[in-house]
């Protein structure tokens, strides 16, 4: 068994940086792009548990092979998928050469993406994130400034940061409607 800390380190250092490529693979080869996040989560669980047994030498090859197997198995299980898709996935070469290496993302590019992600957030959510993270206000100060409860600030912060992180790592950065709506009600009341 591999120690928990080593698996954590491996996961963060070697698996997460592949996420943008992985998500591209899922969106291209899975008919329902909305399920990409779900696929990613299932794959991460599988990879982490495999890592607890032994860390792969070539993480990249291992990750993409596992991703492909996951897609094939899902396609088979759901049985609604055409046989062509399965065949396409079977033949999908997850070798090193077909996958473009992860570009080194410069701080400037990262910053640009952060700004884009921020702009995508609903206004109230964006305001909370800006006040807390960029202006450096405390939860209480932000609540006073905005005229809302601390609970709302906390809630919006969690929702906003999750979406922002997701966006930064190559996801859609979208927010579940119901979560925001619940807070909007409270804020207006």
């Amino acid at each position: 068994m591999t120690g928990a800390r080593r698996v954590d380190e491996w996961f963060v250092r070697e698996v997460i940086p592949l996420e943008a490529s992985l998500m591209r693979l899922f969106r291209t080869h899975w008919r329902n792009a909305a399920e990409a996040a779900d696929l990613r989560q299932e794959l991460y669980v599988t990879l982490y548990e495999a890592g607890q047994t032994a860390l792969p030498l070539n993480t990249r090859a291992f990750v993409f092979r596992s991703a492909r197997n996951l897609l094939i198995n899902r396609a088979r299980r759901e049985q609604v998928v055409s046989i062509e898709l399965v065949a396409e996935l079977e033949s999908l070469d997850t070798g090193m050469d077909m996958l473009t290496p992860e570009r080194h993302v410069s701080a400037r590019e990262d910053l640009k993406r952060l700004r884009l992600g921020l702009e995508q957030l609903p206004p109230r959510c964006r305001e909370v994130v800006t006040l807390r993270r960029i202006e450096g206000l405390s939860q209480k100060e932000a609540a006073t400034r905005m005229g809302v409860t601390e609970h709302t600030v906390e809630r919006q912060m969690v929702v906003g940061m999750r979406a922002l992180v997701d966006f930064m790592l190559g996801g859609t950065g979208r927010i579940r409607r119901e979560g925001v709506a619940a807070d909007a009600e409270e804020a207006s009341g």
């Binding site: 495999a50 070539n58 960029i134 912060m157 992180v165």
Partner: protein
Amino acid sequence: MRARVEEIEEEAVRWRLHREEAAWSDTDEAALQAWLAEDTANRVAYLRMSHGLERVGRLASLKTPGRPGRRLPPRRRAWPPAAIAATLALTVGLGALGVTLEVGKPGRAYATEVGGRELVSLKDGSKVELNTASKVRADVSPEKRVVWLEKGEAYFDIAHDAAHPFVVYAGDRRIVVLGTKFSVRRDGDRVQVAVAEGKVRVETLRAEKPSPPAVVTQGDLVVAEASSTLITPKAPTKVANELAWRDGLLVFENSALTEAAAEFNRYNDKKIIIEDTAAGGTMISGSFDAHNVDAFARLLRRAMRLNVDEAEDEIRISG
């Protein structure tokens, strides 16, 4: 399903943001650890979100240079940037080492059981490390230094003595060294030599077809069978992989499952049986605990999605 992933991630963000607060207590930490241990889904979400938050956090400070903001409490590191060793540290159960004197044969015999590993110190200061299910005889005196590898595999760390070359007999090959580190493995007639340090000479003992000796150096790998001798020069990674058993590991780099299973079977009484070619052709990469065949089987099931049928003394794998 999608909402479920987001919920877990939001929960992870809540933990992580909370953890940065000054009020974070040991009780909170224990609660977090409990939540993480509850489900791997929680743990991977937490790792992903933490990593992303650190990235986002750094950028936020970049965005407003010199702006007087409220100082955030010092952040705890979830994991220190420890140096990662290339191989896994693990515990190895050593089998009982049998030492016997065999009548009619020179030297002293040393043997290990399946799963065993043992270090033998010879009189000249050289060391021999026996791998699983292996046997050597050693005849070492001030006048001569000779070892016979009767079966299995051994790693040699030879004390330098230019006047008395150290000779290893393995099958129909003779390996002659002055002072160096290398391993010799025997599978029937096949003899493999991996050189970790220095220089060794591999000679054939077949009288009917004499061939010139091969001199190999550090990082070289030799596979000799019958009259052929194949040398893979400058393959330090391969040599390191071949020697990984000394750390209790099996290292594969794009090996077919059939080969990987055969390797595991050398070390364990519980044997892996490959039932069909579809499963057997699955490519395996990674380093594994040689003695933990159950963990390997779990990996095949979870990551490789193979059918694993586990009984007490064998594991059957099919595609």
